[in-house]
């Protein structure tokens, strides 16, 4: 028998308060406050003022397993996801070995199922070994138990135009999508940070915006030509927003994501030489930050995805030039979106549900179970958020194994109070329940 929960006075998508009853893995009832029929033994959660969202769906997560379990495991990463309000994550393919075969994607999928913190949907590599030379067995990954629909060489760009064309075409057979890491490799050899005023001063090799924009421009034209859908990972420049806006106006089937850090942080942080702020694509300028916010507000950018990229301390406690690219994000994403988009009036909570749950679930073709409406009869994949809370981020206290959060010491608004995966609480009172391990039949 699963526990029945009653969320008292929660506001679905930020709307009118209601009592929401979760039973047997689904939303059993949404009733006016005080009117829900509460079965005996139900756990009541005082949720007055809290916003109830569909469980968040991340289209871009690095779980590092197999290969770099010292930085993150499927279990630790998905626990961090649950703490951040996520009920599903897409695990990127740049593991060791690379997730370029049915065997590896099934391994990751199985680890996710065993951990039980969130649904894990492996992303398959586009090319064998991420080497950009020949297509991986995309069909085998699509047909595997992991049911892969998103393919990406993320971390590397599928820069060979004919290979990109073939990939875009090939995945149509199983309604897949290629998620492109847009980075022209020749324009970014040795690049360390955004190329501009700051890079000129601090003497770090520049990463021009055009290296991202040129690939996006090429890819939207390719997608148009072959009639495929394209997803653009972690778009970061004003020019990229313009290109995607233009492509959508032409009816090209393109979707785009922005990371939380590109919604708020700028390349001014490179002046500290603290490799915490070294990330791919690099932090850009305040003008770019405004452009991606505008793009997210007007729908040009479809979703927010974390690009959660955990790294060990030794990979960050070194010279900037020697440090790894990436920052964590699962546990701060919703707060950053609230601060930059909701508290500024540019998005409401229904929009947040769209950009962090409904649309990413649709792009990943998992919208049969995730990113569903908050309505009676729907799967109880939910995140309960207290938007009035504030917290100071403490990297050491996070659920992720790695400490490379760029928000250490920042006060951020909002707090995930509870997360439910098919009616089971993975997070209560803001902390992981521990019941996930039990539900999975043993700790890993």
């Amino acid at each position: 028998m699963s526990t029945t929960y009653v969320l008292r006075g929660a506001r679905p998508l930020g709307g009118e308060p209601a009592d929401v009853v979760l039973a047997d893995g689904v939303i059993a009832e949404i009733a006016a406050p005080g009117t829900a029929a509460v079965p005996a033994g139900a756990v009541e959660i005082e949720a007055a003022g809290h916003v109830l969202l569909p469980g968040l769906v991340d289209l871009h997560t690095h779980l590092r397993e197999p290969g770099r379990e010292d930085a993150e495991t499927v279990a630790s990463g998905t626990r961090a996801a649950a703490v951040g309000g996520f009920t599903a994550v897409h695990a990127m393919a740049n593991t060791s070995p690379v997730a370029d075969t049915a065997g590896v994607v099934e391994q990751v999928w199985r680890l996710g199922t065993q951990a039980g913190w969130a649904d894990v949907h492996p992303v398959g590599a586009v090319t064998v070994g991420l080497d950009g030379e020949r297509l991986a067995e995309l069909g085998a990954m699509a047909d595997s138990a992991a049911r892969v629909r998103v393919f990406s060489d993320d971390g590397k760009c599928v820069h060979d135009p004919i290979l990109m064309r073939r990939a875009l075409e090939y995945v149509k057979a199983f309604d897949g999508v290629v998620a492109q890491h847009a980075q022209e490799p020749r324009l970014t050899e040795g690049a360390q940070m955004n190329e501009g005023v700051v890079s000129a001063e601090v003497g770090l090799a520049g990463w021009p915006a055009v290296a991202e924009e040129a690939i996006i421009a090429r890819d939207v034209l390719l997608a148009e030509h072959v009639g495929s859908r394209l997803h653009v990972c972690h778009l970061s420049t004003a020019g990229s927003v313009e290109i995607v806006r233009w492509a959508k106006s032409r009816g090209i089937d393109v979707t785009a994501e922005v990371t939380p850090h590109h919604l708020i942080l700028t390349d001014e942080l490179a002046r500290t030489y603290d490799p915490t702020y070294k990330v791919n694509p690099p932090l850009r300028t305040a003008k770019d930050v405004e452009a991606v916010r505008e793009g997210l507000a007007d729908g040009t950018i479809d979703i927010v995805a974390t690009d959660h990229a955990p790294h060990t301390r030794e990979d960050k406690d070194c010279e900037w030039g020697a440090a790894a690219f990436g920052m964590t994000g699962l546990e701060t994403a919703l707060s950053v979106v609230q601060q930059t988009m909701v508290d500024t009036g540019r998005l409401d909570w229904a929009d947040v549900a769209r950009v962090l749950s409904t649309t990413p679930a649709r792009i990943g073709r998992i919208d049969d179970t995730q990113g569903r409406p908050v309505a009676a009869g729907e799967p109880a994949n939910l995140a309960l958020v207290d938007p009035s809370a504030t917290r100071v981020v403490d990297g050491a206290a996070q659920a992720t194994t790695s400490g490379n959060t760029p928000f250490r010491g920042h006060e951020l608004p909002g707090r995930v109070v509870a997360t439910f995966l098919r009616g089971r609480a993975t997070v209560l009172d803001g902390a992981p329940t521990g019941s996930a391990d039990a539900a999975a039949g043993g700790a890993r």
């Binding site: 000129a200 708020i264 942080l269 500290t272 030489y273 406690d317 070194c318 020697a322 500024t344």
Partner: protein, 350 residues
Amino acid sequence: MRHLLSTAELSRDESILLLDTAAQMAATQSRQIKKLPTLRGRTVVNLFFEDSTRTRISFETAAKRLSADVINFSAKGSSVSKGESLKDTALTLHAMGADAVVVRHWASGAPYQLAHAGWLDAAVLNAGDGTHMHPTQALLDAFTIRRHLGGPDGGLRGGGTDDGVGADLAGLKVAIVGDVLHSRVARANVRLLHTLGAEVTLVSPPTLLPVGVETWPCRTSYDLDATLADRQPDAVMMLRVQRERMSGGAGGFFPSPLEYTRYYGLDARRLALLPEHAIVMHPGPMNRGLEISAEAADSERAVIVEQVANGVAVRMAALYLLLSGEEQPPAAPPVTQPGTQPGTVEGTPR
């Protein structure tokens, strides 16, 4: 001053104090006994992650002339590939009780991390980091310019005898020529010479000027002949051109050494375009026949060998001021963007 990391952090008064102290040090170096007892019992570590015999022996000479104990620590290789990490090296030096660490590193910002990461409490002197900064080189260049051209009587070239002590470089025109993009010498000089009131023109092929240079406090030009003829600079500083910059791959910044020399090399013809009093500088080592011809390098206007000598005096001054001064609180954190969180963009309501 707690550390010497970047000329961008030096005020005009601090810069002049460094130059004046260097002048005092230089005066002692013409004596038969050159050694001063000033830093007896203090330990200076030369920590070199990148080969540079010239800079290392210059710092070593400076420290020894001040009676400091000098330890040379060659730590090649990166923290990721092989060997000890920057952090462990710093902790080791801290445990050994280094009073000052002179650091040369291939990574931009490494001296900055040594100074601010809390790994050691020694004074950090940046002896060149990546393509970022080389403050003692800029100081020795400014010292050399001032000695020849500065002060109310125009320095040595004006017949003066005071080495320009107490003066800044107001009104002097300096051209810096060559690979600005990869040059820590250029970055260090642009900031320091501007602080001291000089007018700097960077002359470079467009491929070797960084994107973003437009915010620097200087002029830029692609045309060396026009700069020499029209600006009539008081000093011309030629930058070393790395031969690997001209190959293919990530290089290819200019078509050939011959073409570079044709447009940006200092030769006898261009030397003749300069005003009579102008001096010719080069941080060394020179590529004779590439960025500077033998005629220019060996002309009586060239002060290149004197720059080397002045380097010792300037480094003595820097070590002296950092190690013998009163303990001061650490410098404020570097991030300057307004707002509650540095480097973040505040919410902008519609």
